[in-house]
Symmetry: C2
């Protein structure tokens, strides 16, 4: 089921050369995953987060606030970022994240989450990576914009587990 | 069950005067909720976010990374912030959030989430509020630090639904 609902891709920066070995993360590289959130996802997220804002359940409330329909929780959509990081770098430690919620996400919207490495430093045999983190819908409309920092145990990019 | 696991409080700024009417949010006011995350919470959050970083499930992996035990997902802990906002201001629209993860959160840690209004502006009959957002454990150790912005339909502070 997860395989159907999550699609993952790696877009190397222009300097990437395939040598047959493991892919090594470099500045400029982009990792993407695509997910469509269901009504059940919103319900399950509300249960575990205790966030039952009526905007997520009451279409009239959402419409009165200027939206087309009830919204997917912004923090559930934003969870794509640590999910992308940890699925490619298991054991990664999440250090910081900024999030600007630009457009509403509705149930059924196909969301592309994208992280792009903007800076990588080595520190005590671990790697501190900064990422530009964005979500898009409708083929390019910016939904969430922000930045993340994470400590990666290695720069070798694992295939994302689905 | 939720009542046992979530405790909510409102700490008015010094200028607050109780007039018997609804509490009106003012700059300086603090809203707090306390929650302890369980192993089941971590499992349920991993299911809905697809984030199965071994740091959350494998105590050896967590210990190798320098932690005492497996971690609660940072984004699940941070979900306290929109939960506090939306439980006191149903229909609030989340605009932005910054998150700095300062200390690990372990299963069973009692976490106090706190939002303090730092700026409130009126815009087209709605209220744009900025909050300092913090989580603490052990009676005062800073776990998450950041800021949030939300559009509130009203400044009247509802009792948080549990």
């Amino acid at each position: 089921m997860l395989i159907k609902r999550l699609v993952s891709s790696f877009v190397p920066s222009s300097g990437f050369s395939s040598s047959g070995g493991p892919r090594i993360l470099k500045t400029g590289d982009i990792l993407r995953q695509t997910r469509t959130f269901s009504e059940l996802d919103v319900l399950e997220y509300a249960k575990v987060s205790y966030d039952s804002n009526p905007l997520h359940f009451d279409s009239k409330c959402a419409q009165n606030a200027g939206f087309e329909a009830q919204l997917v929780h912004g923090m559930l959509v934003a969870a794509l970022f640590p999910r992308i990081i940890s699925s490619h770098f298991p054991g990664a430690i999440y250090v910081s994240q900024s999030l600007n919620f630009k457009l509403p996400v509705y149930i059924g919207d196909e969301i592309v989450g994208e992280i792009q490495a903007t800076n990588i430093k080595e520190n005590k045999k671990r790697h501190v990576a900064k990422f530009a983190t964005k979500c898009f819908k409708n083929g390019g409309d910016l939904v969430i914009d922000g930045e993340a920092m994470a400590v990666l145990p290695t720069l070798a990019v694992e295939e994302a587990s689905m």
